[in-house]
Symmetry: D2
């Protein structure tokens, strides 16, 4: 057992930390300023393009993607880098072309897309010339049970016809978001996990209506492309737009989620580190009742708990990444679920304490805390609420204990 990062990782960490310090943090107030300026409401501020150019120059580009198309890192190598980008989740990941949902979409295309699909969509995404969205959640059904997804994708001749309503399609309000990957039901009569397929729907296809941006606790995330509600009414796309085989939609969505969760969780840890830093700084500077807040026992209790919980969560994410690399995503299923359960909750708690330590400033626009909190909170729902994952993980644990000869049988 060895808890050291390997050399590649250390080298990239150094390079990325420099990029953060020299480029990303200084860009924060610029981004803030630009995102408040009038103009096209859903566009990403121009400073992002500058950062992207610089990141490419520094060879910090597409780090998330294993294999030939990307940086070729393992999950274990990428994880600590993703964490660092989480310290500024609204700027750093996109600067490196490592922002969700494009990362998951690129992985999906790299793994399951046809050569033509890859050429048409993956290539421009890898170069950040376009953006993409993943349309899964539906307002009308409990999407936590993916088999509930009701959007219809029907084969009619050489085409598929898509009908349904999706929402919380992250990034899709941005007019540069050119392609949607839509999950829908191709065969309602098939077995439960083989009814769905994934299909590519270009934004400008007739019948596609981006209706509105959804809020998350008051934030429309307009500087990231928002979260769209989209209607698909008799939307026709060529049959070749289907990703993989008919009925593979559920399996593909599961495959997409594993690495995505590790990335999400690592970024969340970076967010929590940022919150701890802000909290420590704040309580050292603010005085009340005769001393700095840092001398109050309850505040110190928060800081200690934050550190202790954060360290544990990080180790579990790293181990999960290592398992994915060594035994594969399927064998790491329990751990992937475990981090999805543990990390958002932990990070939400930490950011909440940092908010409390900031008083009114903590809920305001003058610190990133309220917005970071909202992200962490939303992850507890996105991609399956905690509760669903806990039930599922428990079922496996119970099964394992039934399979093994229990200790007591030997007593």
């Amino acid at each position: 057992m060895d808890f050291r990062h390997d050399e590649t990782t250390e080298r990239l960490r150094e390079r990325l930390l420099s990029f953060m310090a020299e480029c990303v943090y200084p860009a924060e107030p610029v981004f803030e300023q630009q995102s408040r300026e009038p103009g096209e409401p859903w566009t990403v501020p121009p400073v992002v393009a500058d950062l992207q150019a610089e990141a490419r120059r520094r060879e910090l580009w597409n780090l998330f993607l294993p294999g030939e198309h990307g940086a070729g890192l393992t999950n274990l190598q990428y994880a600590p880098l993703a964490e660092i980008t989480g310290r500024c989740p609204w700027l750093a990941p996109v600067a490196l072309n490592c922002a969700a949902p494009d990362t998951g979409n690129m992985e999906l295309l790299a793994q399951f897309g046809s050569a033509r699909q890859r050429e048409r969509w993956l290539t421009p995404l890898l170069e950040a010339r376009i953006r993409s969205a993943y349309a899964m959640t539906e307002p009308a059904v409990a999407s936590s049970d993916a088999t509930n997804i009701a959007t219809r994708v029907e084969r009619v001749g050489d085409e598929y016809v898509v009908n349904g309503r999706k929402w919380f399609v992250t990034g899709a309000m941005d007019p540069r978001c050119a392609i949607f990957i839509v999950m829908g039901r191709t065969d309602p009569s098939a077995p439960r996990h083989q009814q769905h397929s994934q299909i590519l729907v270009p934004r400008d296809t007739p019948g596609v209506t981006v209706r509105r941006g959804m809020l998350a606790f008051g934030y429309d995330d307009h500087d990231h492309g928002g979260h769209a509600e989209i209607d698909f009414v008799d939307v026709r796309v060529p049959a070749a737009n289907l990703i993989g085989a008919e009925g593979s939609g559920f399996a593909i969505s599961q495959a997409r989620l594993g690495p995505g969760r590790v990335h999400h969780c690592m970024r969340l840890l970076g967010m929590a580190e940022r919150a701890v830093e802000l909290m420590c700084r704040r309580v050292s500077q603010r005085h009340a009742f005769g001393g700095p807040l840092a001398e109050q026992g309850v505040v110190r209790d928060w800081i200690a708990q934050a550190r202790v919980r954060l360290e544990q969560a990080r180790l579990l994410v790293l181990k999960t990444a290592w398992l994915m690399d060594t035994v594969g995503n399927r064998q790491a299923h329990t751990e992937i679920q475990a981090i999805k359960i543990a990390v958002p909750e932990t990070v939400e708690w930490i950011i909440d304490r940092a908010i409390q330590a900031h008083g009114a400033a903590g809920v305001s626009q003058d610190t990133p805390l309220a917005r970071l909190w909202t992200r962490a909170r939303a992850v507890r729902i996105a991609d399956g609420p905690d509760e669903v994952h806990r039930q599922s993980l428990a079922r496996r644990e119970l099964r394992r204990h039934r399979a093994e000869t229990p200790v007591s049988a030997r007593v």
Copy 2:
């Protein structure tokens, strides 16, 4: 001991429930619609004035105010009415002219204002012709310790000169908000709790600059007058604008908070009841994994805990109101602090569970939950963070035990 409401209360509850059902709930979508319409960004939607007219007609007006100026109710009588208005906190309280911060300001003027101050400001407030704001919190100091308040209020001849910066001045972005009650330091050399005074500063006084609206978790609350950051630079007001005596500012602010907290807490309970209702409805209707969410044990656990915690919190608020009526606000200090500690935390938890039960809809603009949650969360900071109140309450508890002959001394 008797847990029944008296007849006056019951009668008013009936009348108010009818008003909610016939007028307030139907006005919700109208308000929503109007608040999205373009125009002066910080104005209250016109439907509010309609509701106010109707509330006056139904004699549901200024219920919060004891004595001749208001409805003459006791705290115990008003409390359950305030709770009902909390079911729609963005419409019902203002409809009844019972919305913070105007309520606290009217109480303050009724209790401590001079005849001239009452005539000039209280009268139009009681008729909802103007609005008011209470400028206490400052960005530069930990305002949880009120003695930190640094804004200077200096006597120069017949005037006071105000210099300082305030923020989170609720309601002050609304151009109809005509008067600010400002807390500032009149005598830095006086004993710690006698340095401050409260002074009336009309909005249009030269030197007053309303700089920006503050956000709370992404919400600017523009449909309620927002939360302003305000600069006071050499602002001169007549000496007669001082409320009470010089040095009484701290005492007045404490007096203002007691009833305010009971009102806040009761409204919070109404918010929680709304959340429980939404949660119960949602989980009865949504299906996942083979049945309605309402059949899932974890969801039921939330509902039970919500009910059990809510009932306890309500009783404590009611008892506190009763104490204020019978032994006075000072003697009820511990209980007032206790509800400030208990209720926001409880209600925040309940709304959070309701959000989780709603999935993505819960964080969105399609239910009131995210906004309700933000309110509850903010109250844990506003008017002193929980932690400050807990330290203070504990000190009194410790003192009490030192004073009494402990059981063990007799053993």
Copy 3:
């Protein structure tokens, strides 16, 4: 609404507080000493009889029992008295002949027993000449679902024959415990809630074997009659020993539990008050890191939370008692369940904090805290675990919301 106790209650509270101060607390070390002395291991120390004599003299006897047989108090009147006895739960309740399980058994006999049963068993119990036990829980089945109870009670001629094993029969290790009320299945083919009956089984009936005393976290409670495991093998009792009608066992057990829960909960609150007092005293006296523990923020946080939670819990118990008196136990079902959920959890938490504040002394025999904690913890299981009650309460809450026209229907 009125939160004052009535005069009867106030008078009895005064009298009881004097008894506690003059007799019970001074008897604590005597009891402690006597219970460590060698001799018959399961006998109640003799100081208890002295206290009982004194309590009768002071007319503090059988306060729990409404109606002619007892003191004739309402639940609301008795509740605060039960709380006071909870400050010394191992001495005060038994001193007043108000200790479980005898109280529940006496209520049961008073309400459902035949004249002959009352004469034979209730009379000596009311005079504390004998003790009784309630044999319900079984080791072999999940007794939280009372319909699982498997002990057979078969009619054979003029007799019933009892076969089964019970455990955690509180008080039954005490040789003075003369009578067991046993719940068993008389008709396995009847509808689910009419299969069981309650039957009186004298301790000395052939076939009754008291096997062993059960521990609760290391305590055998030998000074209270312990918690017995009992075998019933072909135990024959006259048919007249059946309480009520055949098949009424489930209903009778439910009727027994309502008042019992209020009493339990009030005593638990008294235990928590004792813990708060011990905690406050301890932290005022102990010094570490340069000051008394009472100056540490985390400790003060505990004290405040203890006070705030305790006040809420007490009010809910009092309201429940009031409901039972005014609308009846059936209508108060939700509240009875609510206190069973809320109070033990709250009290357990408070005692745990008091233990932590005491360090090693807290877990030892030198304070009553560890033993009090064990009692509180056990109540979370006894008489149905929290989880069962929460599921049940939630079902009713959900039903209520389905029945009512929801707010949203009006919107």
Copy 4:
């Protein structure tokens, strides 16, 4: 980074697992039986000696001790072995001569003892011919602040004279416990951390009185040598009995605690694994309300949380062990404190849930759960309560943030 155990560890794990299955679990009921038999009350049951003989035969002996005297394992190698012994903490550690407090005492003697002290005491301890105790905690002072320790150790001629009272001296009730390591104050006028020394006091020295066994939640742990209260009155020992230099007592006690905490924490994890196993088995077998408990959502929630928290805690302990091996105990101070904070709390929670899942059986002597829980609970106090460690860890975290250039300084 690599999460695999090395070969030595894997090999020893296999061997130890076989020993557990073939010897330890089968010995559990024997131990139980023997410890209930009449006789010398504080003696370890004879089955322990049998297990020790077998463990030596299997070369599973003194695994805890690095260096020449022991098995020579690193902390990282020993940690997973300690965890396995935690599955039966009352038998397995002692069987391997790896039980506290002897382990810590042997480490202390190996590291700081003189050649003569090692020969006289370490040698028989390594062969389990005698037992030892560590007398640190005192009833009269808050020992969480070690500088409070008040026992006097005064040099008089060639001797030291010891006066004071210690308690919770684990193991010291066992008559085979031949030697006490006593911490006391040699120089009250020295700087705060140089006032204390450690000294060897043989049990049979005149003036040593073992007064009584302390309870922990009703358990006297008589089958492990209990937890003694000991008076030292004018106890004279040769000056050569001092361990290390005068004034080094605080430093030695700190050095003793690091490895001890890792061992404690690993054993706690094993206890939690045992609890999870018992819980899973129980809920699969028990039925209530129409199905096995394992189908209840709340129960599954517990199981999932238990697994997720346990995995995180284990990783933190392993990383801490790795840090101790690679950068030394001093540099691993934060992590050592972190596991002391995190693990007992986590494990206590898990065992509590397992108890709840067992109903009455969970608190009784029929499962090991109540006793395991008591151990976990006690560790939250022993060796410094959680709160002290949290304050200390937070101070270091705050210091670190003050030292580093914060992100914001770059923004």
